[in-house]
Each structure stands twice: as C-alpha cells, then as structure tokens.
C-alpha cells in the first residue's frame, strides 16, 4: 500500500467526448477541476457538501455530485457536463422543454436539473408526475417553486419517447 501523498498527480479524463490530460493536486475537487482547470463553467457549485445538486455531472453515465469527488477519482473515466448536452446548436429535448416552458429563472441550478433529469428519463421514459418530483427532489431550486421544472421534464419525456436521446458531446 502506497503512502498518501499531497503531491500533484497526472490524470486523464474524457469530458463530453474530449480527452484531457492534466496534473492536479489530490485535494482538487472534480467540480473545481471542470470549472477552473478545463474552463467548463456550466457546472455550478451551490453548497460544496452534496445537498443542492447544482454541480451534478454524468460520471460514466451516472449522475454524481462533482463537489463530492476529487478530480483524481475521475482518472480514466468519462464525464458528461451541461456543455456537452446539446448536439451542436440543436438543444437536447430536455433543454428545449425547459426553454419553452420556462423551467428556470436565474439558471444557476439548471445544469444540475438537466443532467439529473436526463439520467432519470433514460431509466424511466414514461414517468408519473410524483415520480418526476421524487426524482428531482435531490436538486434544489430557489426561484421556480419547481412547478415549471416538473412540467418541462414531463414534456421532455413525451418528446423523448418519440425520438431517442443522443450521447454527451462527440460519441
């Protein structure tokens, strides 16, 4: 067993289909790595203790709190962020439904909701409203009161059942 060390370590991470090689401090959070080392500032940090869900990213296609992981833990893994959700200029059906139904106000929590909902709808393509509310209950929004977010996810589900989802970024 090797000694724990604070010295920087090289990592290789695929983010939205693009490989990145960096050398990082072991204590660097994955959220800070994405935001400040890679400049992908769409992933937001609302609490840094895993409650608010604003920093949610897809980690090997599973939604995780990037503020509760270290960047070194992402070594060799695939990350999907909000920047990789649209297909070029074409928004993902979830993004489109959030836009049309105003499922956002200030926009700070929005990336986390979109990443969470994307995974949820992949697993449950035809959810009931209570199921949507339960699935989103790990993400905090302080502006909307959730009504328009829930409506947007239900609408996106309807559309996604008619057209299959794309992968993050280049696939």
């Amino acid at each position: 067993m090797t000694e724990p060390s604070a010295s920087p370590r090289p990592i290789r991470v695929s983010v939205n289909g693009v490989d990145h090689e960096r050398t990082v401090e072991p204590r660097l959070l994955l959220s800070d790595f994405l935001r400040h080392d890679l400049g992908l500032t769409g992933t937001h940090v609302g609490c840094e203790h895993g409650v608010c869900g604003a920093c949610t990213v897809a980690f090997d296609d599973q939604p995780v709190r990037s503020c509760l992981m270290f960047a070194v833990q992402a070594d060799g893994h695939r990350i999907g962020t909000i920047e990789g959700m649209a297909d070029g200029e074409t928004l993902h059906p979830l993004q489109m439904a959030f836009w049309e139904l105003s499922g956002l106000q200030c926009g700070f929590c929005t990336p986390g909701f979109l990443i969470t909902a994307r995974d949820f709808l992949a697993r449950n393509p035809d959810p009931s409203e209570p199921e949507v509310r339960e699935a989103l209950s790990g993400n905090l929004c302080r502006c909307t009161g959730y009504q328009s977010i829930v409506a947007a996810v239900l609408e996106a589900a309807r559309r996604l059942r008619q057209a299959p989802p794309a992968r993050f970024g280049k696939s």
């Binding site: 203790h49 049309e100 926009g107 700070f108 905090l140 909307t144």
Partner: protein, 763 residues
C-alpha cells in the same frame, strides 16, 4: 394606446431569449470570471458570538508559501468607515453600523476578523486556519425578548437601537367601543433567502489609470459604487462595475457587505486582481438573515365581527449590526400590518433590538410575510371567538373597492401608505371559489391525519421610488438598445424591457437589445428591489421608447422628403404611405451628429408606491402523532395591475409561494444560548424540494391597473410570497381544531406535535 391593442404586452413570449444561455452552460456568474495574475481571498471569521478581541497572531500564516497578504482592522487605516444605511437612514442608528473588520468588540459568529489573500483559495484557507485569535468571551444576547446579559454597544444606552410608533385613529376610544377583546402573540422564525449561488466578488485595480474594475455587484450597483468610492477615496467614475449573471437575489444578494469593501481594498493594496467566492457555511452566517419578529397583539371588535382597534407591540431581532436596510423591515411590518381591512384605530409600537446573531436585512416580502401571518392568524382566532367562519370575518371588514384610493394612515419606506387600486373582496371570493374552500373542508377520514384549510389575504407594496431610468437608442445595426439602472436577478427583466420597448417602437422583441445594471450605462440608477423594476424601469423605457419612435419618424421624414404624418414604423424600417421605406440601419448610419440624438433617456419618478393584492387558500394534511405537515395544494388569486408577460408573473407567484412554504414549515436559523449557529449547511437548514412543494394554482384577476403609471403596472416579485405563510399557519390551526394553538413559524414537527398534545389535553 388602449390595453387591448397591445401586440406584445400581456402576451406570452415563448423561448425567451434571456433563458437560452442558461440552458447550455453559457451563463456568466461571478465565479466564472477570471483575470490574469488573480489572487484568491478567504475571510477569517469569528468563532465567538460576543467577545473582546485581544489580538490576531498572523506571523505563522504570513510565512505560508503562496500567501500574498493578510489584512486585519489595523491595516484598514487610522479612520476606517462603517458601512452606511441605504434605505431610510437615521443618525440614531450610526452607533450600530458594521465596520468591514471587527476591531475590539466581536458581535456575532461569522463576523469578519481578517482577510487572507493567497495564490489559491486553498492556500488562503490554510493560512486563515493558522491565525491565532485571542479574545475574551462575553455572555451572548440571543433572545430579543429577554433581558440582555450584556450591552453589545458600550457607547449606546442599551441594546434597543430604535423605538418608533406607527398607526392612526383614537385607540382608546376604539377599544372602549369593543365588545370583544382578543389577545394573541405570534412569532416568525429567523430565516433568509439562501439563493442557490452564494456571493462573490472580483476586483482589479489599474494604478496607472487609477481605475478600479469590480465584478459581482448586483441589485443596487450605483449605490454600492458610491459607497465603495467614498470608502476607498476614489472618484465614482473611476470605478467600473460589471454586473454578472446572478444565481438568485431575493433581497439578500447585492447589498453592501464587509467583503464588498475588503476585496477591492486588497486588490488596490496588493496591485493584483483579487477574487473571493463565498462558501455555503460562510453564506449562512455572513449574508443577511431576516424575519425574526415577535408580535403581541390586542384586537377590539364587535360581536358582529367588525374590527375596531388593533394594538401591537412588535419586537424585531436585528442581529449584531445595522446593515444597509436600517430598520425598514419592522417599519414595513408596522406600516402594512392592517392589510386589506378597515380598522377604526391602530397603533404599533416597534422596538429594534440588537442581539449576538448574524445581522439582518430584507428577504423577499420583508416585514409582510411576518405581519400578514400575524394578522391573518389573529383574525382566525377572533372569528372563532365570535363564532363565524374565517372567510366571513374578512368579508365584513375589507376596504371596499369604491374607497380607492385609500389612505391607510400608516407609513412605509418613508412615504404615506395609500392603496392606489384593488378589489379585495373579489380576490377572496375568487380564491374561495377556485379552491372549493367550503366543500372539501375537513373531508379527511377520522382517526388518521387531519386536513385543514387556511386563508391568507394580503396587500403588497410595490414599485418603490423615487425613480429609475432607461435609455433607449437606435444601434447602427438597426437594433434598438434599451439600458437601465435596474438589474437582472433572474426575474425576467430582459424580457419585460424588450416587450415594453418593442411595443412602443413597433419592432419585434427579438430586435431589442437589453443592457442592465452596469453603472456606466446611465448616470443614475436605483436597482432591483421592492418589486420596482417593472413599475419604474418599465415605465421609463415605455416613455423613452415612445419618444424615440417620434424622433425616428422625424429623422426619416427629412431623409425621405416627406412629412412625419405620412410615416410609420414597421419591423426594421420606417415606411411611407407611398410604399417607400428607409431601414433603421440606414437611418442610423445617415444620422446627423448635430441633429436630434436618436437616443432618449427618461427617468420615471413615482411619489407613491403601487399596491398589489391577493388572497391565498392553503390545504394541508397534519399528522398529530408525528407532527408532520404536508402542504397539499395552494391557490393564489392576485392582482398586479397590467401584466407584461403572464408567464413571468406566474413564475414569480409560484417561486414566491415555494419560498413561503420554506419559511412556514422548514426554514429557521437555530442558535444555541452561546450564540453559535447550529445549522450552517443545507443538510441542516432545510429548503423546500420538488416533492414537498405541492401544486400551486394561481389566477390573475387583472381588474385593478395602477393609476400611478402609464402602463398601469404593479410589481409582482413579492406578491406570491407574502400571503402564503399566513394561509399555511391558518390551515394547520384549522387541521388541529384549536384556533389559537399555532403561535409561531416555522411549524416544525416538534412544535406541531406539541400543539397536537395541547389540543388533546384541552379535549
């Protein structure tokens, strides 16, 4: 122009352009900004609620590699200045103002003691942890109703910073006439906005040009620029303020806080850009708290339920310092407490009491979430006393629509309270009909969880003056630019202004470029608070755009060799009756620099606020065995005058309602007797989540435009919040079957369980 003729105002605007950037991670919030050679700051905060600071030993911290500077109160110069009060400043509040860093006395947990600046935030935090704080602890004052264990401000007479009285009529006479006297005490818990994004600031100083760039001010950038310039000894125009996207404001973000001085100060001292991003624990103990009020009420009424006299003792827990709002929160409570009802006489005696807790300020619906809950609970208790339905006591006492405008007799935000328009009985009738208030009441099966319905009626002040400005200009591209001193806090300002200007200049809203917040855009600016942006900036933009439309036509008339009467604006151009056109871009490029400017600035003033109103019904399920309250549904009927964008107004109603659910059922900052904050994380301070917030059904009555402004608008930013706490409290009391039981918010499981025990004991 008749309201019915509007092409954009009042119509839905799908796919609002301002939202597009947030959907793909292109919003630009403060932590998304970076500058070359930037340093990072951490604030060393007090672990003591009340103490005499002896020394800060910083040598070890300064020696840590990567540390660029450490600033304590002694480093701020021989005559540091306190942060001034922004709204209704009184000289008597001066002794209670906060300085950027504590010197001598420490008065709350989280008070800034030193600023540490380093190559990274991690190093800055490491260094802050190496600073040894030597202090002598003092007993903490944590209860505004108790005798204080110590004086917080030795130079002041006592811990009561301010006493004042509001009211009208002859209270003694009214109480004499009363056939019933109802006494009731009510308390609202300390909580706050808790926006999803905490605060932050980035400052950079160019010593050669003596120019200071500040990224991160919001809400009131012009005021904050003036304060910062004065504190730093710079001309205001040397400061360039950049307002970023903001992750929620709600009154708390954007006021001038200690860090708003410290970060620019450090950037000037160190000659490098300095950035500070607040973490969540800091935010919960450093940003303004609000709402902690105690009401002792005495109501005189007739046996027929006619309200006569209302006498109130109101204590507002101010926390450790007077912040930028001074005492406007209890002023608003005292001024708005009568709500939509007629009283013969009213008196509210207010005490603003300092305690060793985080200083307080405004949070969306300040003073009204509290006073509406207190008054509406009191009415339910009174209705039960005389044996009439809660809806009936309200019906018998509403100020009738034909009494408008109605001079209430109180003051709020430094002006007389004069309700401008409104049909209060109609709002209640509407919400009762929509909610099935009578039909479904107490429909739950016996023995299990109990159901209750509660009403909350409200009048809501909006559109606080004195003014806001807008500049509407033709861009060479043919786009119309509108700039304002109001700021976007995620509330839909850009859509609102785009639609108002589009309406006046006959262009598509997509061809309107909205710029807001930056201090360079207009010389003066008020900002976004008190539900004022649509009322003031909206009407300023409306008037400026109408004037610009006239100028565009006049300018085109000369170019097309015709008269203005033959011309009209069409999308992208000025068109003549003969079919000849001149595009707006051609018009801009050929404009005579010596002729009338194709830009108009208007400052729209208002001497009086506009008053929105509404009524709420809440339906809840209460489990007496567990003390658990589940909100089942909310109905809100409201009137905010002319609506610019129904979707945005509806969203404000829903979002406000959800925040009130938090304040009524979940949210409270808990302190122990030593003044230590017990719940400094979002795992302990509970916010409403998607499966707790019930369906919110809302209806715009749309029958009471404001007579005070050309658009007839009233603000909608706070209307969704201010009646919901009242309705939920009444619903829980209704479910428990003991009207007087519910005497405080939030209605936590422990409290509800105790109330249920009291109900059982009474039975």
């Amino acid at each position: 122009m008749n309201v019915r003729d509007f092409r954009h105002i009042g119509k839905e605007m799908a796919e609002r352009p301002e939202l597009r950037r947030f959907l793909s991670g292109q919003g630009r919030y403060i932590d998304d900004f970076a500058l070359p050679h930037m340093l990072h700051a951490a604030v060393l905060r007090s672990p003591y609620a009340h103490a005499e600071l002896r020394s800060l030993a910083t040598a070890e911290a300064r020696a840590l590699p990567g540390v660029a500077g450490i600033f304590t109160a002694a480093d701020l110069g021989p005559a540091p200045q306190p942060i001034p009060v922004r709204l209704n400043p009184y000289a008597t509040l001066d002794p209670y103002l906060q300085y950027p860093l504590a010197a001598g006395r420490i008065r709350y947990v989280g008070e800034p003691l030193a600023l540490v600046v380093a190559a990274s935030r991690a190093i800055a935090e490491d260094a802050a942890a190496l600073i040894a704080i030597k202090a002598t602890e003092l007993p903490a004052a944590t209860d505004a109703l108790a005798d204080p264990p110590a004086a917080l401000f030795p130079e002041a007479a006592d811990n009561i910073a301010c006493r004042f009285t509001d009211g009208f009529g002859d209270l003694g006479e009214a109480m004499q006439e009363a056939e019933e006297i109802v006494e009731f005490a009510f308390h609202t818990g300390r909580h706050s906005a808790v926006p999803l994004e905490a605060r932050g600031l980035l400052a950079a100083f160019d010593p050669g040009r003596r120019r200071l760039d500040v990224f991160g001010f919001t809400k009131v950038p012009h005021f904050n620029r003036a304060v910062l310039a004065r504190m730093l000894g710079l001309p205001e125009r040397s400061l360039n303020i950049v307002v970023p996207d903001v992750g929620g404001g709600f009154g708390v973000r954007g006021e001038f806080y200690p860090e708003d001085f410290l970060i620019p100060f450090a950037a000037m001292r160190l000659g490098r850009p300095v950035k500070w991003i607040e973490d969540r624990l800091e935010h919960l103990m450093a940003a303004n708290h609000s709402r902690e009020q105690h009401y002792a009420m005495r109501l005189g009424l007739t046996r027929a339920g006619r309200l006569l006299g209302l006498e109130v003792q109101l204590v507002n827990d101010m926390g450790a310092y007077m912040r930028t709002h001074g005492v406007i929160v209890p002023e608003l409570s005292a001024g708005m407490l009568p709500g939509p009802y007629r009283f013969t006489a009213y008196r509210c005696d207010v005490r603003a009491v300092m305690t060793n807790k985080t200083p307080t300020g405004t949070y969306r619906g300040p003073g009204r979430f509290e006073c509406n809950a207190a008054r509406e609970r009191l009415l339910d208790v009174a209705a039960a006393r005389i044996g009439i339905d809660p809806a009936e006591i309200r019906r018998r006492n509403f100020i009738p629509p034909d009494a408008m405008p109605y001079r209430l007799g109180t003051r709020a935000l430094g002006e007389e309270v004069i309700y401008d328009s409104g049909d209060y009985p109609a709002a209640l009738a509407d919400v009762l009909a929509r909610s099935g208030y009578k039909a479904d009441r107490h429909a739950a099966p016996a023995g299990g969880p109990r159901r209750g319905f509660g009403i909350g009626c409200f009048v809501e002040k909006t559109g606080k003056g004195p003014y806001e400005g807008a500049r509407v200009a033709l861009d060479p591209s043919g786009v119309i630019e509108v700039a304002t001193g109001a700021t976007s806090l995620g509330q839909g300002l850009e859509t609102m202004l785009a639609k108002v200007v589009a309406e006046a200049v006959f262009q598509a809203p997509e061809r309107i470029l909205v710029r807001s917040g930056e201090t360079g855009l207009l010389q003066f600016g008020g900002g976004s608070f008190a539900s004022r942006a649509t009322v003031l900036a909206g009407n300023a933009a409306w008037q400026a755009a109408q004037e610009l439309a006239g100028r565009l036509i006049s300018a085109a008339a000369g170019r097309l060799g015709t008269t203005a009467g033959n011309l009209h604006l069409v999308p992208g151009a000025v068109a003549a009756a003969d079919g000849n056109t001149l595009t707006l871009s051609e018009l801009a490029h050929g404009a005579d620099p010596l002729g009338p400017e194709l830009a108009v600035t208007v400052y729209f003033p208002t001497p009086h606020m506009a008053y929105a109103h509404g009524a709420v019904v809440a339906s809840v399920e209460v489990d007496p065995a567990l003390g658990r309250v589940l909100p089942l549904r909310l109905w809100v009927s409201y009137d905010v005058g002319t609506v610019i964008n129904p979707d945005i107004v509806g969203a404000q109603i829903e979002g406000g309602a959800a925040q009130a659910i938090g304040g009524a059922l979940l949210e409270a900052f808990v302190y122990d007797s030593a003044g230590q904050l017990q719940n400094g994380s979002l795992a302990d301070y509970l916010l409403p989540v998607a499966d707790f917030v019930p369906p919110i059904s809302h209806h715009d009555l749309g029958r009471s435009p404001s007579p005070l402004n050309p658009l007839g608008v009233k603000g909608a930013g706070e209307a969704g919040l201010v009646g919901v706490g009242a309705a939920l409290a009444n619903a829980v009391a209704d479910a428990l079957g003991l009207p007087a039981a519910v005497d405080r918010l939030p209605m936590t499981p422990e409290r509800v369980w105790r109330w249920a025990q009291a109900v059982r004991a009474a039975a």
